[in-house]
């Protein structure tokens, strides 16, 4: 242990050394090089700045907990799922200013061991500067900040310095959860209580969220091997976490193995997967995935784990000497019930659901089969994240921001996101009241003309190569015309329906988070509406509030109809897209440029005729 104290911090050594020398009355030491002092000042400044954004996360009673890091001035902070898993929806969070804030759980990612919480009470929280963790290299100097062993009574984070020992590391899930893919490995001391806290580079920029360590036989303290979830992965999930949902990760729909000749080959593929529809087959060699060279089967697993369900990534494969590049839509790795079961297994099966003021020391029930013999029903259905928890009285500001709902960590945030997207869209587009009766005409990029007529019962599109129609009655999910569009007419109908009925009466609607869509893979906010067994995704631009895309997914195993809207122009006070890019599967179906757009509701004076 004394050796530990002698430790690695150069600054400490450099600073201490002259003192010892003078104590020995050795020759007068040289004055420190200004560069050393400058480097020291820089490091002190980086640590001071980073400390301000570091959070001590305590459970509602102010007892055990972990760490976190603020990423926005309105109080959103990242931490580990396993830090929030056992608390209720409410937390107490301490900052470097010595103050304790109420906080509420926002969203959870149990597979990736990430959670988003929001600290309440300020709009000017200090925020960590976020780096690109893909630029990290082995040998970078880094420091961890957090509250190991709850040492800081005043919430001043403890800092430990070290080296990046490895990047793009893969750590198998603990049980079925908490898979660390593409993570950072460091020898900076990571101890219990550092969970969920930040890992910074030497410049004080956030590169990861600490959460795991190798311990084995030496007790649960640092042995020089800690792991952080890369900040790139965490930030990619933030919008999804802001949806308040229990977020899932992506899978490929195919498995691969490393062959004896070193190739990474597909050894199984689901015919219902997008990868299969894009052309990937058994035996193909995966060369690159999401921009990363794939040299071993594990490498694919590693890269795959950093994406939320529904993400789209480029994939390069080789077959018989030919190389192909495709874009693949990634399905979810788990279904809702699986996720819920996994979360319950992570939460201690501790306390029966009824009973409020429980002595915290009160008997931990014997380890038995959770869900058996108790008041809970047999097989656990997916429930609200905190369904098994007692319901202590929440602080008022937390209660105001918490809504329990099946499949969600906190439904309140989803409702907020839906409402805000929808309000902005209605404001910017003024599309309310546009009704179902539209007539459009215009040109294709070939110069040929098209005509499009739609009302609440039917639609017809006339193209140079033919006309096709759809009837919006009965089983509409069969009305996927025109052929090879994936359901263009129905997608427009869904849009009209959403505008006409609003979020409440469309069918089930929820905010998903941000996903890439359209020809340019723009990552934008996505509202999902379910109707008639189909899933319709509506994409909105963050700045303008415009509806920039629609995807109609008629079935899990079919290519959706993708529409991308652009060239927004004013028309009778409404802001409408005049270029419609339509694709299904590999081929662009058409690109429609609207010249004329008649909306019946606008043409007729209201309430005179029918």
């Amino acid at each position: 242990m004394t050796r530990r104290v002698l430790t690695t911090c150069l600054i400490a050594a450099a600073a201490a050394m002259p003192l010892r020398l003078s104590a020995d009355s050795a020759p007068t030491p040289p004055a420190p090089d200004p560069a050393v002092l400058r480097a020291q000042a820089e490091r002190v400044a980086a640590i001071a700045e980073a400390s301000r954004a570091t959070v001590a996360v305590l459970d509602a009673t102010g007892a055990g907990g972990g760490s976190g890091v603020l990423i926005s001035a309105d109080g959103f902070a990242l931490t580990n799922f396993h830090v929030v898993a056992e608390g209720g929806p409410a937390f107490k969070c301490g900052l470097n200013d010595g103050k304790l804030y109420d906080a509420v759980v926002v969203g959870i990612d149990p597979v990736g061991d990430v959670a988003l919480i929001q600290l309440l009470g300020r709009n000017d929280f200090p925020v960590a500067r976020i780096s690109d963790s893909d630029l990290c290299e082995v040998g970078d100097w880094v420091f961890a900040a957090g509250n190991p062993f709850l040492l800081a009574d005043d919430f001043t984070p403890s800092i430990s310095y070290g080296l990046l020992s490895g990047v793009h590391r893969y750590q198998f899930p603990a049980g079925t959860l908490l898979e660390y893919t593409d993570c950072l490995q460091t020898d900076a001391a990571i101890n219990p209580g550092n969970s969920g806290g930040p890992l910074f580079n030497a410049a004080g920029e956030l590169i990861g969220v600490n959460g795991r360590a190798s311990f084995e036989k030496r007790g649960r303290v640092n042995v020089g091997v800690g792991y952080a979830i890369s900040i790139n992965q965490a930030m990619r999930f933030v919008s999804h976490l802001k949806s308040g949902r229990i977020v899932d990760h992506a899978t490929l729909g195919a498995t691969v193995s490393t062959q004896s000749d070193g190739r990474v080959a597909v050894d199984e593929i689901l015919e219902t997967s997008d990868a299969f529809r894009r052309g990937l087959r058994y035996g193909d060699t995966i060369v690159r995935f999401a921009g990363r060279d794939i040299g071993a089967a594990n490498a694919l697993k590693n890269v795959l784990g950093v994406f939320p369900r529904g993400w789209r990534v480029p994939l390069v494969y080789r077959r018989e000497g030919q190389t192909y590049e495709i874009d693949v839509r990634l399905p979810g790795a788990h279904d809702e019930a699986q996720l819920a079961a996994m979360i319950q297994s992570e939460q201690k099966p501790a306390r029966p659901p009824e009973g409020d003021d429980r002595d915290p020391e009160g008997g931990e029930p014997k380890d038995g089969e959770p869900g058996e013999g108790g008041p809970q029903p047999g097989p656990q259905l997916p429930r609200g994240f905190h369904a098994l928890k007692p319901k202590p009285k929440l602080p008022q500001d937390v209660a105001d921001r918490y809504a329990e709902r099946r499949g969600y960590a906190n439904y309140w945030y989803n409702q907020q996101a839906q409402d805000s997207l929808w309000r902005r869209y209605l404001e910017s587009s003024a599309i309310e009241g546009a009704g179902y009766a539209w007539r459009l005409s215009g040109k294709l990029e070939t110069g040929d003309t098209f005509d499009f007529e739609i009302d609440d019962q039917r639609a017809e599109l006339r193209l140079p190569w033919g006309r096709s129609g759809a009837v919006f009655a009965g089983d509409v999910s069969t009305q996927l015309s025109p052929p090879r569009s994936g359901g263009l007419l129905l997608a427009i109908h869904a849009w009209q329906r959403l505008v006409d009925r609003g979020l409440a009466r469309f069918g089930e609607v929820y905010y998903l988070g941000q996903l890439p869509h359209g020809p340019d893979h723009l990552v934008e906010d996505c509202l999902v509406g379910l109707f008639e067994g189909m899933e319709v995704r509506f994409f909105f631009a963050e700045r303008s509030g415009d509806l920039t895309g629609i995807e109609l997914h008629s079935a899990d195993d079919a290519d959706p109809c993708e529409i991308n809207f652009s060239e927004f122009r004013e028309l009778n006070g409404r802001r409408l897209p005049h270029r419609w890019w339509v694709r299904s599967g590999d081929a662009v179906f058409a690109e429609l440029v609207v010249d004329r757009w008649d909306i019946d509701a606008d043409a007729q004076p209201p309430a005179t005729e029918d």
Binding site: R3, A26, G66, P192, R212, V223, V225, N298
Partner: protein, 402 residues
Amino acid sequence: MPRSLHVSAHRRLALFASILAAFSLLGPSARAAEDASLHATIRQTQRRVVKIYGAGGVKGLEAYQTGILIAPEGRVLTTLSYVLDSDQLTVVLDDGAHYAAEVLGIDQVAELAVLKLPLAEGDSVPAFDLSDAVPAQVGDRVLALSNLYNIAGGDEPVSVLQGVVAAIAPLEARRGGYQSNYRGQVYVLDAAANNPGAAGGALVDWNGRLLGLLGKELKSRATGAWLHYALPIGEIAATVERLESGQSLDNAGELPPPVVGVTLADLGLVLVPNVLPRTPPYIDSVFPGSPAARAGLRADDLIVFVSGNPVASCQAVLEVVGRQERFDEVTISVLRGGEFHEASLLVDEELDDAESDGDAPVDETPSEDSADFGAADDASVELPTTSELADELQDADEPLNE
């Protein structure tokens, strides 16, 4: 390790100067250059370190370790261990290439082995040159490269840890009933370099020059603390040269006698006379004032478990107790009048000077495989939240059954 804290004023000056030089180098661009060269040094060194897979895989015995390439023709220096005790010894290079290796020579005292890779004629691999190895001094900044915990799968580069040489001292170490046969000088490191699988890794300076070979997982005989150390290349170069030429050193006779971990006398226990092939392990008597007496064990108690291992005979008790470490608690579970009692015993140690400098006891949390971890072997585990930790410590501190 007396030398660790005694650095002459002269050495301090030198150390200070080297720290200045290493750290600052004038302004951000110079520091960026310094960083760049550290990155380059690490990358270059990683290519000379290999992962070795062989025997093991059972509880507490990892089936992997590390080695360093010491000849372009494909010779690997590593630690002699049970891992090499396999017909199918696989060596994985930095680029992911696999080779079935054969053992060229071993030295049982230095606990070293040299392996040979079947490279194709004319092929070569990046390698350290042992004759370029330099001696390290106390205070030198070092890098430890190894495949600790087998984190680096496939073609992933090995892990890198940093630290300083804290002391140069003779190795006095053991693990359970096994002690280190090597008794020469070692570099004692302040980095947690000697984790599972790290043995045989490289210790290099910041210029990538080879200093030593990372040692096994061992505890200090004096303090029971886990040691982090490396064998200086200078101490082993001569023997390595002989091993490379294919000579195994037949020096088993020079091995120091094995030591027994804990004895019943240490604990203050006497069992009934061991007269049957499976004499039930009843306690015959307990020395007054001994650890066993303090823990409440009594004559006529029937021992059923020792540190989690079922023991059905006096012989089994002797074996299991002998495998325990002197610095770990030995838990003994007994049946007394049909009731189950558990006691934790710690061997009394005469404190020597090493203890008086205030070392905190290491390794108070017992467990090798605490069930809470729920993780597969080799997998890292999520950090316990502090409340879990508090629970665990509380459990550990629980009073013994009376």
